[in-house]
């Protein structure tokens, strides 16, 4: 019997289907749209099958090509990588179901191939244990994303795609410079091996590669001065793609920063500086979101704000802070992924992205509006929802060893939550109580599209009402990161 709990499958399955879709597109015609669904259903099964293994051993390592690391490339999944890969597979699955009913524009096979490639690259980025592979996965993701952002091929989409391409490829080059500097200093590309050899480097020797890697990943992760592409690219992409871009891509980039900062670089001097970046990102995102008229643009700016929030929690560099960051990542991925899917269905019905045209939708699209409200409440952090627990955790973590600066940042976070609440309530108020002036025939989105939304919404509701297993798991994951168990476990299990 084949052991399916193998992290390599998480990358190999979608990559195989990518090429299958591209090759079979000419004779399967529109039948190719079912292939991504199969790919991500398999991926979801594999990532769920990894849970018992990871819980038992702490980590699952798979090596390639029959060599031992550091000579071979390895895939290492620990608790942090596990939950992110589950979320990536889940979002990939529901978004590909959504695509069955959403994408009717040609060339379909190219869209589905790129979409599968995008999620494959993101999963790859999350589970790789090799720093050059991280770069390759980053570029695979970016190139797929550039293509998908420009998929509609209208003026706005092409321009957004080009802008993203210019920034993304500069980011890729910076990341590569950082990686090659680490290689020059240590002579190896395996993350664990590098981590053991960087411990004797001085702060100055580590700072330059760190700055380069941080800039490169920061462009993808939309940190404040580097995020000019995001508010254009996310709205221009088809909604299912925006859901992946917002839900996983920024999270995956921040994941890579967390992973590398905690295993390889291991500085303490840098966190204050990261905190400032995070707060600026938070303020910029939320305040800009408040002034948007275009609903997808508003959600895109809100993504920037959320990224700032969990990056702030990470930069506290405590177990509780990281736990809050991971919880917020889960909350953000599920609710923002769902919001983009809901909004995609609404835009299809209304034919406009302007918030004012959404007036009265709450009465006509009851199910969609209900789940939009749940996603919005969870992002705001209203009490029964998961967002409340994660925000509470972040605030408690910040106040744990409070100094004046941290108290000030908590005040900023609370203020920004109010701003966030203001624009989401404005949207909900227009939707539920606004008067529709033009009498347009609006009906509920199709069942297939609702299915994806309902799946994500149900998962969000389940973890909202039974948060303790998730919270415990995140606590263990955070403790592993802080205690550098990644290195010890990898050494024990033959990752090196």
């Amino acid at each position: 019997m084949v052991n399916i709990a193998n992290p390599i499958l998480l990358v190999v399955i979608p990559l195989f289907f990518t090429f299958l879709i591209a090759l079979s597109g000419s004779f399967l015609k529109s039948g190719v749209k079912y292939l991504p669904v199969i790919a991500f259903a398999l991926n979801l099964v594999v990532s769920l099958a990894l849970i018992p293994e990871v819980v038992k051993n702490g980590m699952v390592i798979a090596t390639t090509a029959g060599f031992k690391p550091p000579f071979a490339i390895d895939m290492a999944v620990d608790k942090l990588g596990l939950f992110l890969s589950i979320i990536a597979s889940l979002l990939g699955f529901v978004a590909s179901v959504y695509n069955l009913f959403y994408i009717d524009e040609e060339p379909q096979e190219k869209f589905h191939a790129l979409f599968t490639l995008l999620v494959a690259g993101l999963t790859w980025m999350i589970i790789t244990g090799d720093i050059f592979n991280l770069f390759v996965a980053f570029e695979v993701t970016s190139i797929a994303a550039f293509g998908l952002v420009g998929f509609h091929r209208d003026k706005g989409a092409i321009e957004a795609g080009f802008k993203y391409l210019v920034m993304g490829s500069i980011g890729g080059s910076f990341l590569l410079i950082g990686i090659i500097m680490l290689y020059a200093a240590t002579g190896t590309l395996n993350i664990v091996d590098i981590a053991q050899k960087t411990s004797h480097l001085t702060f100055q020797q580590k700072l330059f590669p760190f700055a380069m890697i941080f800039t490169g990943l920061g462009i993808e992760g939309a940190l404040f001065p580097l995020n000019a592409w995001l508010p254009d690219a996310h709205p221009a992409a088809p909604s299912s793609v925006s859901s992946i871009l917002s839900g996983i891509m920024t999270t995956a980039a921040i994941y890579a920063i967390i992973r590398l900062t905690n295993t390889i670089f291991d500085f303490n001097q840098i966190y204050f500086f990261l905190m400032i970046f995070a707060l600026l990102t938070l303020i910029f995102g939320e305040v800009s979101a408040f002034f948007q008229k275009d609903i997808k643009r508003m959600l895109a700016y809100s993504t920037i704000g959320q990224t700032g929030l969990f990056f702030f929690a990470f930069s506290l560099n405590t177990v509780n802070g990281l736990q809050g960051a991971f919880m917020q990542m889960v909350n953000h991925s599920l609710s923002k992924g769902m919001l983009f899917l809901v909004v995609g269905g609404m835009i299809m019905q209304v034919g406009s992205r302007n918030i004012d045209d959404f007036a009265g939708l709450g009465r006509k699209m009851k199910v969609s509006s209900f789940f939009l409200a749940i996603g919005a409440f969870s992002l705001m952090g209203l009490p029964p929802f998961f967002g409340f627990w994660s925000k509470l955790k972040i605030i408690f973590a910040a106040l744990q060893n409070a100094n004046a600066f941290l108290v000030a940042s908590v005040v900023i976070i609370l203020l920004m939550s109010v701003v966030e609440g203001a624009y989401f309530f404005k949207l909900l108020q227009v939707m539920f109580f606004g008067k529709q002036e033009k009498d347009v025939a609006v009906k509920e989105a199709s069942y297939g599209m609702l299915f994806s939304v309902v799946v994500l919404g149900t998962v969000l509701l389940i973890i909202s009402f039974y948060p303790s297993p998730v919270i415990d798991f995140m606590h263990k994951a955070a403790a592993e990161i802080i205690n550098k168990n990644y290195i010890t476990l990898a050494l024990k299990l033959g990752g090196l």
Binding site: F132, V136, E139, S142, I143, F146, G147, G150, R153, K155, G156, I158, E159, A160, G161, F162, K163, L165, V166, S169, I170, G172, S173, L176, I177, I180, Y183, A184, L189, A228, D232
Partner: protein
Amino acid sequence: MIYYVGSFLLIALGLYAVIIKKNLIKILIGLDLIASGVNLLIISIGYVKGGTAPIFSRAGLKASMMVDPIPQALTLTAIVIDASEMALAVAFVVLLYKYYGTLDIKKIRSLKW
């Protein structure tokens, strides 16, 4: 040493072109310069003066006399990635030119830059 200086000059030149130039094609050339600079940097890190290819082709060759093969493999990967990125970028530029009839970035402003 000269290689390091050269590669960082190339990268700086490319960044300058991307940030300052207003012509889309010149921006693409800038991106390509950055990529070439990075590739040169990678190669020069693995370079050993007077070294041979990393193959034990004759007796008496020691590992210290060979150039490091890993950076070369990395460069090949990076070149492939850059090529596909460039192809996509050119496709974008062709479409932009079709829509706007110009390559001047200041005239292409349906979005806020």
